[in-house]
């Protein structure tokens, strides 16, 4: 173990005087492939600084299951701290004909995992076996990726909603967070929607049956309105992904029905 109280070398892993230097990824003097670069998440000799906070962030995602499928909604804002930086970005993605994903948290990490998923879907299609990945499998895969990253203390700062049509045409709706914590339910939410939208939806849930499509769409509309009014990192524009037996697509963007006439009645400020 190196004593940290003394000065450490300023230069390492580079060319040394009087010696040949082999660039990583190339070939060695003997023609054998050089050792590939270390895995991104393994520690260096002086430790490794991992990302410790989300930079560009998406706020809430809300998913609701209904009798024939699922709805996943998110506004189109990606913030940079308190700055409403990117105002027209879809955070709900169609992955294939059976899977929808809504992402919140660090948007760079969302894009990163989205690229991996898209590559998986291409490989899936290349098999040409008519078998298509289902949302439950996708959610489980996501838990493995995210759990692995958290176990290396290098998490992806994301909170995702995975929904779609599972084996046997049964709707599936689940959520996976940055630690790999996963669960499925008839309603899942991330960000502020967890505090503002989740109770609204649970309150309206009939005990003996699922929501109908109409009930679910009305709830999404109302929840996105409440979120716009009360979440400062939100926007009055949102997209909704729908996945049912007959349709899997992203609808919108929709406008939140704003009404600020009550504002002039507020006194005392």
């Amino acid at each position: 173990m190196m004593n940290n109280s003394f000065a450490q070398p300023l230069w390492q892993n580079g060319p040394a005087p009087g010696q040949f230097y082999n660039f990583i990824g190339g070939v060695n003097n003997n023609g054998a492939p050089a050792q590939l670069p270390r895995e991104l998440t393994t520690c260096g000799p002086y430790g490794t600084k991992h990302s410790t906070a989300a930079i560009t962030t998406g706020s809430s995602v809300l998913g609701i299951k209904f009798d024939g499928g699922v709805l996943v909604a998110a506004d189109t804002l990606v913030s940079y701290g308190s700055l409403a930086r990117y105002q027209n970005i879809d955070r709900v993605f169609k992955i294939n004909d059976k899977i929808l994903i809504g992402g919140s948290g660090d948007f760079a990490d969302i894009q990163s995992i989205k690229r991996s998923i898209d590559q998986k879907m291409i490989e899936d299609q290349c098999c040409n076996d008519g078998v298509i990945m289902k949302p439950k499998a996708m959610a489980t895969w996501m838990t493995r990726v995210l759990y692995n990253r958290r176990s290396r203390m290098n998490p992806l700062y994301i909170d995702v909603v995975v929904g779609g049509i599972d084996e046997g045409g049964v709707p599936f709706l689940g959520s996976v967070d940055l630690r790999g914590r996963a669960y499925d339910d008839y309603v899942v939410a991330t960000g502020f929607a967890r505090h503002l939208a989740l109770p609204l939806v649970r309150e309206r849930k009939p005990k003996d049956r699922d929501f109908t499509f109409e009930e679910a769409t009305n709830l999404i509309r109302e929840a996105m309105k409440v979120l716009y009014y009360r979440d400062t990192r939100s926007m009055p524009r949102y997209t909704v992904g729908i996945c049912s037996a007959s349709d899997c697509s992203i609808k919108g963007p929709f406008k939140v029905e704003e009404n600020w006439t009550f504002a002039e009645t507020i006194k005392g400020y």
């Binding site: 940290n4 002086y46 410790t52 914590r181 996963a182 339910d185 967890r194």
Partner: protein
């Protein structure tokens, strides 16, 4: 502390940027109770999944049926629970394919301890209780700490309300400090085990905010696993 980390160079800190340490663990709550009898074992767990003041789900089973005579109840850090139970299931399937027989409860108990101790220095943050019938058909309960210490018992409570539930079981099932001669202790019936398990959960839900919504009860006998549900307070 990292000698080249940003915390060593306060002059280079960007104002406004918050540096939050990442915590790999989270307590997602939940409680498990298991009571063994001569030819049965009852294991029960609540269905609330929460973190802090947020309830993620009111309907999340924490009982994992490992085989027709073994059930694992697991609470704590839910992501660790998922990983651990997934790994145990995988290893049991490998065992079955290699040896053409199902793992006994005692074998699963031993394996679980080893799997948990494997992560001694980055533990699975879970409270496990394994219930099942042993090779003689007798009810057994195994309880664990997060680093794999394993103890065989006849009744055990674990999870966030474990410290509330265990004394009740000591009194009602163990008849501790009651001056009853050992040969005069009443024989535990299935019905009484279920009733006591249910009552402990009803009581725990009054005081532990991480226990509630409903209880899933599995009754394991040689004929299979019978499932029951009981509603708890949902606030």
């Amino acid at each position: 502390m990292n000698s080249l980390g940003i915390e060593q160079f306060p002059d280079y800190k960007v104002p406004g940027v918050q540096h939050v340490d990442f915590h790999p663990y989270e307590s997602n709550g939940g409680s498990v109770v298991a009571i063994a009898g001569d030819d049965f074992v009852v294991i029960a767990a609540d269905t609330r999944l929460s973190s802090g003041y947020t309830i993620h789900s009111r309907d999340q089973s924490k009982l994992f049926q490992m085989s027709s005579r073994t059930v694992l109840g697991s609470t704590g850090c839910w992501c660790d629970t998922l990983s651990l139970t997934g790994l145990v299931k995988l290893r049991m399937q490998m065992y079955e394919h290699t040896h053409l027989k199902t793992m006994t409860t005692d074998a699963v108990a031993q394996m679980l301890s080893i799997i948990m101790y494997n992560r001694r220095f980055f533990p699975y943050y879970v409270s496990n209780i394994l219930a099942g019938l042993d090779k003689d058909g007798k009810g057994v309960v195994y309880s664990y700490d997060p680093i794999g210490h394993c103890e065989r018992a006849t009744y055990r409570a674990g999870g966030t309300a474990g410290s509330l539930l265990q004394p009740v079981l000591d009194n009602q099932i163990g008849y501790k400090n009651q001056n009853v001669p050992a040969d005069q202790l009443p024989k535990l019936t299935k019905e009484r085990a279920v009733a006591v398990a249910s009552d402990t959960f009803i009581s725990a839900a009054e005081r532990d905010i991480y226990t509630g919504d409903s209880v899933l009860i599995n009754i394991i006998t040689k004929d299979g696993i019978e499932e029951k549900t009981l509603q708890l307070r949902k606030d």
